[in-house]
């Protein structure tokens, strides 16, 4: 099985240096891309059916196609790698950032060339300290070797690359919130349109792509769109970094064909449940996705198939809920996160999420009433898609909505028995 995203990551996790990366075939795709027109690069990526890996699953080539090109277009354009991995339960980009920084850098240079960007920025979350050190080293080495700078490999194309480290907040991972942070402001979302592709960072055309998305670019250019499509078991192309955490035997990240079933990921790659624990449900792709249950074990983990059963692939890193963990406490933990991380820009999210959190806390503590469930349901409507400025609140409602659907008995039991039936550890 081919693993284009992780095959160059040594088992000790220590990344290849520039020379080792080049002798393993690295930077060949860049040389090839610089011999093509930018439009031809965009066309291959469109043809590969690569869907963005940050969670939303938008076709990458189509996104690039919105950037103004030609002599009339702005000379300053930005290509940004979104390395602000802050979705709870998600740790896939860390593996790529720490394990093979040159593949990200090569993917960024090719992507920047495709949209004729003048500047590339890696927006890295502060917590990834060793990734920061490795990226700085790799950017330095790539510049020395002429892969970055004024005249990249004699092609006449110029690109500057910098690393920006954040100072926290989930909102920085939202495309336009990230741009606000890079401009030195509070990380709040912006109204669209205009879309960042037209007017992004400092008002210039800007593409923001996820780390995993950008790491797919060198192999696509190197081996072709058809090869990339064939890696997948689903309609959209490629392999995917799946992950699992919670009480499984082998928590971790596994690169598998896009469309691998939830059952195979949990039972084979994550090694099944730890002794004494049973699988109850899982969030398929981070905190802002709907629960899947045992009935969904054979769902293919691709964008379309997961959507068909009422959830989202999201980041593809699975959080497992076991039979001894309280689902109300579980959801309370998630909503605590969302309430805290709401940027406060729009009212439903700023006021609604803390209310949801307080209600869940009182139910968990045995102080809930049946009327509380109605209030929770009214928030699911009031904070749903289209009611708020960005996707944070609708994302926060996804696990709550599905929890009320699948674990209704647990909520009722908390209210009737006036305590958490799972014991004090989770009360």
């Amino acid at each position: 099985m081919e693993r284009p995203l992780t095959h160059m990551i040594p088992s000790d996790g220590h990344p290849l240096n520039l020379m080792e990366y080049e002798s393993s075939g690295g930077y060949q795709a860049l040389k090839k891309a610089l011999g093509m027109t930018p439009q031809a690069v965009i066309d291959i990526v469109k043809d590969s059916n690569l869907m963005g890996r940050g969670g939303a699953g938008f076709p990458t080539g189509v996104k690039w196609g919105f950037v103004p090109m030609g002599d009339d277009a702005s000379e300053v354009k930005y290509l940004i790698a979104n390395a602000d991995e802050m979705e709870p339960g998600t740790f896939k980009d860390r593996v790529l950032l720490e394990g093979n920084p040159h593949q990200l850098i090569e993917g960024m240079i090719i992507s920047a060339y495709a949209i004729q960007a003048s500047e590339a920025i890696i927006f890295l979350r502060w917590a990834y300290k060793s990734a920061a050190r490795r990226l700085l080293q790799a950017i330095h080495d790539a510049s020395e070797a002429g892969f970055l700078g004024d005249n990249i490999l004699g092609s006449g194309y110029r690109l500057k690359m910098t690393l920006h480290t954040s100072v926290g907040r989930y909102m920085c991972g939202e495309e336009t919130g990230l741009l606000s942070a890079l401009e030195g402001k509070r990380s709040i979302p912006r109204a669209k349109p205009p879309f960042p592709q037209i007017s992004g960072l400092f008002g210039k055309p800007t593409i923001v792509n996820n780390v995993e998305t950008l790491c797919c670019i060198p192999p696509i250019i190197d081996k072709g769109a058809g090869w990339f499509r064939d890696l997948s078991l689903a309609a959209s192309g490629g392999t995917k970094l799946y992950g699992a955490s919670g009480r499984v035997n082998k928590p971790g990240i596994y690169e598998l064909p896009l469309g691998t079933s939830l059952r195979e990921i949990i039972e084979v790659h994550a090694g099944g449940m730890r002794k004494g624990y049973k699988f109850r449900a899982a969030l398929p792709g981070g905190a802002s996705t709907d629960f899947l249950t045992e009935d969904h074990m054979d769902v293919k983990m691709d964008f379309k198939s997961v959507a068909e059963v009422g959830s989202r692939l999201g980041t593809g890193t699975i959080i497992v809920l076991d039979d001894k963990t309280c689902p109300v406490g579980f959801v309370h933990n998630l909503e605590h996160f969302f309430a805290q991380e709401s940027c406060g820009w729009c009212t439903p999210c700023r006021e609604g999420l803390p209310w949801v959190e307080r209600i869940l806390k009182s139910i968990e503590d045995g102080e809930g009433t049946e009327g509380d469930l109605d209030i929770l349901h009214s928030h699911i409507t009031g904070l749903g898609p289209g009611m708020t400025f960005c996707a944070l609140a609708p994302g926060a409602m996804a696990p709550l909505n599905s929890a009320l659907k699948y674990f209704n008995d647990d909520f009722i039991k908390h209210i009737k028995e006036k305590k958490c039936p799972y014991g004090e550890a989770y009360a």
Partner: protein, 154 residues
């Protein structure tokens, strides 16, 4: 006023940006690096240099959870309180902090040795529970391991 060292670092950041206020977050990072936290004086110093009002700078400073507007201890413990660490029992570790060092979220030990703060998901959920102390990541935590780690910080 900013120190000369702070000013040189900040001017370098400004030189890459279209206008000075775009360096506001970088300025907060620089001042915090030098002074340990960002006091009201620090906010004013930055505002003067970036031609912003102190209120504008403070609105940015108070938005980001890793800019400290209160003094912190010699070592800042950032304990992940997100979902995978919760499932695997980080709450026991917090109880242990209370028991052993008599601090909980947001508090500093009386000898200024540790400040304990909650932090969202550290992106290392396969090795939960996890925490960062200063610049160092610690994972697969247990109470025994926590004691051992804390003892290495003066």
């Amino acid at each position: 006023m900013l120190t000369e060292k702070e000013r040189i670092k900040l001017d370098e950041e400004i030189s890459h940006l279209p206008y000075p206020s775009a360096a506001c977050i970088e300025a907060l990072k620089i001042v915090q690096d030098e002074r340990g936290w960002v006091s009201d004086q620090g906010v004013t110093d930055i505002a003067e240099h970036l031609q912003m009002s102190a209120e504008q700078v403070d609105s940015v400073a108070t938005f980001y959870n890793l800019i400290f507007r209160k003094p912190v201890g010699r070592h800042v413990v950032l304990m992940c309180d997100s979902i995978s660490c919760w499932v695997l029992g980080y709450e026991e570790l917090i109880k242990h902090f209370k028991h052993k060092l008599n601090i909980t979220w947001g508090e500093t030990t009386s000898d200024d040795r540790f400040t304990l703060l909650p932090i969202p998901c550290l992106g290392t959920c396969d090795r939960a529970p996890a925490m960062i102390i200063d610049d160092e990541l610690h994972r697969d935590l247990t109470i025994e391991k926590l004691d051992e780690i804390l003892s290495t910080y003066e």
